[in-house]
């Protein structure tokens, strides 16, 4: 699995992906399916716009008082029996988690899906420390077996077709080849069930953290999230700071928005609310619960002009409607988070120097804005990042000069006319200079521009 960020070669990544017919077909199918399902799922929902407003307001409420909610969450979770750790960055988080596992001589870890754990490359670190980490979400299990990274935040193995999965299972698990998804699923159930029951620890993410009660909330369909958080004696949860909601009373708004936005389900098979450790007299719950709250750059984003990206609830709806994402797939973006929200989060978390080509990965069509359940103004954020890129000196000098010229020419009628005359006269040169990519696709300039035809 490559931990190297490849966002700088976005254009080349994309060009390669475009030639990959099976990948494009899979991405198209996913986008069309989820897009249609989302529309169907929201059709009977009365006043979707009010729901989105409410969700946006709740998330902003938390962001505006993040430290306060963070402290509230930590103290309530601790009161309920959890141990809360704060990790400033990826290194700290990895060390904390590895440390907890080593202290308890935990060797086998079962893991349910967590994008944040991908962000900090946790698996690789734990494996180096001698632990066995098993992904239990079917999609993550598949890509772990094949040694790749997720290409979609909801369906990580969307880029693999059933034949590829069948061959993978036959090869790695020694089972008879089948390409029937139902049978493949049963094979995974059998193989992973054993691991659940014998694992030393469970590692999970969290979709939300309710501050008032110190609770973790997990949305899952497969049941692995439930297994991971209740079967092993030790449960470690990692989540990024901004995942909080004020209280469980606010959870229904997100239950109504998240599954529909992500897969078109009205609700996931399971919504688990975990509050602390097993209490006296209880027969459910981890004996030991550690919650790692990760910053890794979020506090800085919070104080910047793109802070609204922190409202994101990781539903994937923006990806499902993005014309660019459907064409190039998740891996092209070169880091953990792809698609529209990925452009913003990747650039802000990893820095312009490592990500600047991503800010161009949008036609500004606005389809993402239309579907974001928490009303993140993604197009506005792209524009802000493009301005930031220019300010920080990551735009090509020729482009900068060209835009300066444009600014002068288009602000002066006589220069504008002269420019039109020159490009008409020297069009073949412009074509050669601009290359077939641009000028080759433009029709030639008109002999008589419109402004000369007006009486």
């Amino acid at each position: 699995m490559s931990d190297v960020q490849t966002s700088l070669t976005f254009r080349a990544n994309a060009a390669r992906a475009i030639k990959d017919a099976p990948l494009r077909s899979a991405m198209r199918q996913a986008a069309d399916t989820f897009g249609a399902k989302r529309a169907d799922a929201f059709a009977p929902v009365a006043d979707l716009e009010a729901l989105r407003d409410k969700a946006s307001t709740l998330r902003l409420q938390v962001l505006d008082r993040l430290q306060e909610y963070e402290e509230m969450f930590a103290s309530r979770a601790t009161r309920a029996g959890a141990t809360v750790h704060r990790a400033k960055d990826a290194d700290a988080a990895r060390e904390i988690i590895a440390g907890i596992l080593k202290d308890r001589s935990a060797k086998t870890v079962v893991k349910s899906k967590s994008m944040v754990s991908e962000e900090i490359h946790l698996n690789a670190h734990l494996e180096k420390a001698g632990m066995e980490v098993l992904e239990t979400d079917l999609g993550e299990y598949i890509i772990q077996l094949v040694g790749e990274t997720p290409s979609h935040i909801i369906v990580p193995a969307i880029h693999k077709n059933r034949r590829q999965v069948g061959r993978l299972f036959a090869e790695k698990l020694g089972v008879e080849y089948t390409e029937d998804p139902q049978v493949l699923t049963k094979i995974a159930r059998r193989t992973i069930r054993e691991k659940f029951l014998n694992a030393d620890a469970g590692l999970s993410g969290a979709n939300f953290a309710a501050a008032a009660s110190g609770s973790l909330v997990l949305f899952t369909n497969e049941g692995n999230g439930r297994m991971v958080t209740t079967v092993p004696p030790l449960h470690i949860a990692i989540l990024s700071l901004e995942k909080m909601i004020p209280s469980l009373a606010d959870l229904p708004t997100f239950i109504r928005l998240l599954p529909r936005s992500a897969t078109g389900q009205s609700i996931t098979s399971y919504v688990s609310v975990i509050t602390g450790t097993r209490k006296p007299g209880e027969a459910t719950g981890a004996k030991e619960l550690h919650i790692v709250m990760l910053d890794n750059g979020r506090a800085e984003i919070l104080s910047g002009e793109c802070r609204e990206i922190l409202k994101c609830i990781r539903c994937g709806a923006c990806m499902n409607v993005c014309p660019v994402y459907r064409t190039v797939g998740g891996h092209s973006y070169g880091w953990t988070y792809p698609g529209p929200m990925g452009i913003v989060l990747t650039t802000l978390l990893t820095g312009m120097a490592k990500s600047h080509p991503l800010v161009d990965a949008s036609t500004l069509c606005g389809a993402c804005d239309e579907v974001c359940p928490v009303r993140i103004p993604l197009v506005d954020l792209f524009l802000k990042l493009r301005e930031q890129r220019v300010r920080e000196g990551f735009s090509k000098p020729m482009e900068k000069r060209g835009m300066r010229v444009f600014g002068k020419v288009a602000a002066s009628p006589s220069l504008f006319s002269a420019g039109q005359f020159l490009s008409r006269t020297f069009w073949p040169l412009v074509r050669a200079f601009g290359g077939k990519d641009v000028a080759g696709r433009l029709p030639g300039p008109a002999k008589v521009p419109f402004h000369r035809r007006v009486p």
Binding site: A26, R189, A249, L251, S269, V271, V273, G276, E282, T284
Partner: protein, 165 residues
């Protein structure tokens, strides 16, 4: 919303999520439904703590000692939610929520009076001192991770039956 409406809405939404749904009004009715959905030869776990669980247990010929080795669990749950067709399973009172997770077949008994209209009502019902685990269960476990093809029965139960009593 009136009680019959609530019940109807709950059963409809639960059914749409691929749960088997049944409504009974007495212990004989409960036993009839159980004998229909749980094969007599399979080891079934039933906690036998509540009155309704005791009534159910009487209809189960093969009782498992523990949920770990059972093919099915028959248990009464905390409540249900009409809005989403969900069951509400909680860990208070010494209940093992895993009993409805590990076996391949989960049979949940829920009292008519314990059907909440909305998600909000459900969360409002918990006073201070939340149980360690509250799980909303809607249908059997599922995935669409392979080619977006729906497969029922992944890590959690492959089959869910709900009996409103």
């Amino acid at each position: 919303m009136t009680s019959p409406d609530l019940l109807r809405r709950f059963l409809e939404n639960a059914g749409n999520a691929a749960a088997g749904t049944h409504a009974v009004s007495d212990a004989p009715g409960l036993r009839r439904v159980l004998s229909g959905i749980v094969p007599g030869t399979d080891p079934v776990f039933c906690p036998g703590l509540t009155d309704k669980e005791k009534a159910a247990a009487a209809a189960l010929p093969c009782r498992a000692v523990d949920y770990a080795g059972a093919t099915a669990t028959v248990e009464e749950v905390y409540g249900a939610i009409a809005e989403t067709g969900s069951l509400v399973c909680v860990s208070s009172g010494g209940r093992a929520v895993q009993a409805g997770l590990l076996p391949a077949h989960h049979v949940a008994i829920v009292s008519r009076e314990r059907i909440f209209a909305t998600l909000d009502d459900c969360f409002a019902s918990f006073a201070e001192g939340l149980p360690t685990n509250i799980t909303l269960v809607t249908g059997p476990s599922r995935t669409a991770d392979i080619e977006l093809t729906l497969a029922i029965g992944v890590h959690g139960p492959e089959k869910l039956d709900i009996i409103v009593f």
